[in-house]
């Protein structure tokens, strides 16, 4: 393992998010680990499937439940060079949602004159399985 650790080549990390926010601590924990882990400059992607798609829904208002609304933080991920947020199409459809129900999340592409580009990438269930199979490390939340 040690030779891997010394390697300069970035590893592919996928954070898998399958739970809605607020009811459990998983979504917030995942986001915090992503932000901390971003310092290690690996090739990071996030997957949102099943109830995890609710983490990205637009218009979250949490004052009534006395919890911090952490949804704006997803919009900071681009600053942390986390620019691939894969959202599963079937999971949205099963919940009566479309990509238009989600927040606008963009990143500035350093290699393209800092042009703003969407971070959310809609993928099918089969494509999501491919993405999962393409990782060095998969972390589930």
């Amino acid at each position: 393992m040690s030779e891997d650790m010394d390697d300069d080549v970035a590893k592919k990390f996928l954070y898998v998010n399958r739970k809605a926010p607020y009811g459990t601590i998983y979504a917030l924990e995942s986001l915090e680990v992503v932000l901390i882990g971003a310092a290690f400059e690996q090739d990071v992607s996030l997957a949102f499937l099943d109830d995890g798609v609710y983490q990205l829904i637009d218009g979250q208002k949490t004052t009534g439940i006395g919890m911090k609304n952490f949804s704006p933080t997803y919009k900071a991920l681009g600053d942390y060079e986390v620019t691939k947020l894969y959202v599963e199409k079937e999971s949205l459809e099963e919940r009566g949602l479309t990509v238009d129900d989600l927040m606008d999340i963009v990143y500035e592409d350093e290699d393209d004159d800092w042009e703003e580009k969407p971070s959310i990438r809609l993928v099918s269930r089969a494509e999501m399985a491919e993405i999962m199979a393409d990782q060095d490390v998969v972390l589930s939340f």
Binding site: A129, E130, M132, D136, V138
Partner: protein, 102 residues
């Protein structure tokens, strides 16, 4: 390149196992542990989903978790195999990555 998936929740309580089985690639393995083992029992409403997955990937249950819930080999969906803790470790080392479905 293949993945070992682990699932520890009953499919009658959570959608975790269904979601896992819907994201398998050929050559992957699924190891069902803890409360998940009730999903590998034959004759349940979930059995057909497990059978369909076996065509694509190997499905294992952890023997001690099965025994603790009063089940044995004869109670399992055809094609589901039993491993012990050493077998769990072997599965982890045999595959390129482990994905724990929570």
């Amino acid at each position: 390149m293949s993945t070992l998936h682990t699932v520890n929740k009953s499919p009658f309580d959570r959608s975790t196992m269904a979601s896992c089985l819907a994201h398998l690639k050929a050559g992957d393995a699924v190891l069902i542990i803890e409360d998940g083992v009730v999903g590998a029992r034959k004759g349940t409403a979930f059995a057909a989903t497990v059978t369909a997955a076996i065509g694509n990937a190997e499905v294992f249950v952890l023997g001690p978790d099965l025994a603790a819930r009063g089940m044995g080999e004869d109670d399992l969906v055809d094609g589901v195999k039993i491993v012990d803790y050493d077998g769990f470790v072997d599965l982890v080392t045999k595959h390129d990555r482990t994905q724990a479905w929570l």
